[in-house]
């Protein structure tokens, strides 16, 4: 009895440990619920369709298994001669149609919500490069690059000899994460400077392709403070696997002071440097415009 209880306690602790440390929950089976309204909607839709598929699978597979088990020649089964049945065929054409309509309605509703970027409170431009991200706080004049963290970068070299299990957030860590305030509708403008990339944070439920010459939009409104990690999701060359996305969602006050710090640092840095940077950006824009005019 005692033994049983001890075992129970141990397994309960183990389970609790598995649940509480997301990074250790390695045998994950399902989609993450995420931390935004969209990610919740998407998760629910995913589960709805999953269970519909399970229901269909159970029905269809049981008929198959029953047939395989029952209508065996070795059991003396003699084949019947029928080869069609109009009623059955009409029924199993119409029922799927009805199930599909039932799926399409909530799907369409969520899709409309996803594409509605109106009423955003903060706009950030994300530019993909081989192989890093640039974040532009469009209305704040704050802009910086975000690349794979040094520790991960050293460990991921061929035969580096580093035990990657000892690297914190291996391949999912960056030098400068994106910082956004909690409970704020953030509009992300996604583009790329060289080849295709895709900006993706699973916990926000969204990914969008970053395409040179295009500006794509997505939005999220994180409901929980925390650090959320994702990756480039469109093959972009040799180091495609090594340009993670890290977003820190913080309280509004912390965001404000972080932003003020960024601005101050920018001003403190030599003014001429900033001007050169601005000039370069302008030049790039001009080149593209001229090319288009041609």
């Amino acid at each position: 009895m005692k033994m049983k209880r001890a075992l129970g306690a141990i397994s309960a602790t183990a389970l609790a440990a598995l649940w509480s440390v997301p990074a250790a929950a390695a045998w994950t089976l399902n989609l993450r619920q995420g931390v935004t309204e969209l990610s919740h909607d998407i998760y629910n839709l995913h589960m709805l369709i999953f269970w519909i598929c399970v229901a269909i699978a159970v029905t269809v597979f049981s008929v198959m298994i029953y047939s395989i088990a029952t209508f065996r020649k070795s059991k003396g089964a003699v084949s019947a001669s029928f080869s069609h049945n109009t009623t059955a065929e009409v029924v199993w054409t119409l029922i799927p149609v009805m199930i599909l309509v039932a799926m399409a309605i909530p799907a369409a509703r969520t899709l409309v919500k996803i594409e509605d970027t109106s009423g955003s409170e903060l706009t950030i431009k994300v530019t993909g490069y081989q192989w890093k991200w640039q974040y532009d706080y469009v209305d704040e004049g704050v802009s910086y690059f975000s690349t794979l963290a040094q520790a991960s970068n050293e460990a991921r070299q061929l035969d580096s000899g580093v035990d990657v299990y000892r690297v914190e957030n291996y391949l999912l860590d960056v030098d400068n994460p994106l910082v956004v305030p909690v409970n704020t509708k953030v509009r992300v403008l996604v583009t790329a400077a060289d080849v295709l990339h895709a900006w993706w944070v699973p916990d926000f439920g969204m990914k969008k392709d970053a395409i040179p010459g295009y500006i794509n939009e997505l939005w999220f409104k994180a409901e929980k403070v925390g650090t959320y990690r994702g990756q480039c999701a469109e093959l972009c060359g040799r180091d495609h696997g090594f340009m993670p996305v890290v977003v820190r969602v913080v309280e509004q006050a912390e965001y404000d002071s972080w932003l003020a710090g960024q601005k101050a640092a920018r001003q403190a840095a030599a003014a001429p440097a900033a001007q050169t940077a601005a000039a370069t950006t302008n030049n790039e824009t001009t080149t593209v415009l001229v090319a288009n005019a041609e």
Binding site: T28, F50, V63, P96, E115, L171, L196, G213, G241
Partner: protein, 533 residues
Amino acid sequence: MSASQTHGHAAAHDHHDDHGPAKGILRWLTTTNHKDIGTMYLVFSLVMFFIGGAMALVIRAELFMPGMQLVDPGFFNTMTTVHALIMVFGAVMPATVGLANWMIPLQIGAPDMALPRMNNLSFWLLVAAFSLLILSLFMPGGGPAAGWTLYPPLVLQTGDAFPLAIFAIHLAGASSIMGAINIIVTIMNLRAPGMSLMKMPLFTWTWLITAYLLIAVMPVFAGAVTMLLTDHFFHTTFFAAAGGGDPVLYQHIFWFFGHPEVYIMILPAFGLVSEIIPTFSRKKLFGYDAMVYATASIAFLSFIVWAHHMFTVGMPLAGEMFFMLSTMLIAVPTGVKVFNWTATMWRGSLTFEPPMLFALAFLFLFTIGGFSGLMMAIAPVDFQYHDTYFIVAHFHYVLVPGAVFAIMAGVYYWMPKWTGHMYDVKLANIHFWLSAISVNVLFFPQHFLGLAGMPRRIPDYSTQFADWNMVSSVGAFGFGLSQLLFVYIIIKCARGGARASDNVWEGAYNHGLEWTVPSPAPYHTFEDAPVVK
């Protein structure tokens, strides 16, 4: 059946001017015989299956553990790219073309393919195409590494391999178009008297529809890669935004080809399963007409769903809505097929020889691939699934235990007819069980990886993905090694074994003209057309 009588008559006469195959290597270089060409296609496809498979094992070996242990990330990308190109264009498609070459004339009572010299050319073009593609691996700058979809602008960064790969695709495409023309002309003109379209065996039917798909989309793909070529060498900017072009245009053109292309791989598989399940259920195929119409509907829908491969590209809402709904519709005709196969087994008299085992595994596992396909059709959820291992799991489920298992079922079904020998059934059963178990160990965990957030086409991953990757890699090596058994069984069967009867399978007696010719099928068959009642 009158067909066998006619054949008996043909065998008694007409043999004074009969000539067998040429001797030595010339036989294979110059042959215009559909059976020889079919055999060459099948052997070629098997060789490619192993080359592409070896590349897959390089991928799975690197992904066995987190951290980079074996290959450079650039070479890893080459492996994923060339693995896909070889498996799609070098293994699965030629295998179904090989089966078509062997079996369509036998199924419709024709003496050969309608355009035998073009048949020879289309095979040897394929050999040239894949020699070039494999050669491209050794070019300065490495092989093609932009993914089998060859998306610009990334693909334009390819080194000297670029023109070789494009030319390889052009040759393979030309070969496919010739093969397709040949199949259509054969089916339209050389059917035996009385063999109306709606009496044709399902394998022939699905290939007729597949051939039309090939003719419709292969030139589109050729156009897309030609534009890549001029963008790279002649300073055009079809796909470069800076020059007024559009990188997304390429994706639309590619997938307008690419979606029908996946049906080009699966429709013949549907045909094979529709032949095999009735034979081993000792019953006629349930709902023949519905099967034909469902195949045609799937082919039609394949032209209007392409952008579901690019939901995250930034389409207008109306576009996303359209492609979501049209894609969901595919579930209806596909469902009809699965239900009809099930109804064929219902109240049948089933036996479980190797072809039936593979067909049944197809039935279950293809359906699982169908379910994940339906999930991905739902655009909002696809924003999560897109470009993750969930997608990898999905398309491998429909291609490996889907198309490849159906092809293996077809080979086990007709091999006694080709060689005149029954293969080692015990070994074939072992091959089946090893394959069926390892393929699930290989691909099922990839669903979990994708849902957990692992992107596809990455050479290394965060430690949270380590466990399922290890399982998947173990499955991969199990599956790869099991296929050596397949080769052994084929070689052993070609060399000898118990004599196969003309009927081969007990249930085959009224399932098509191919069972009315002797085993092995003589070099020339149906020189006088059989009469079908």
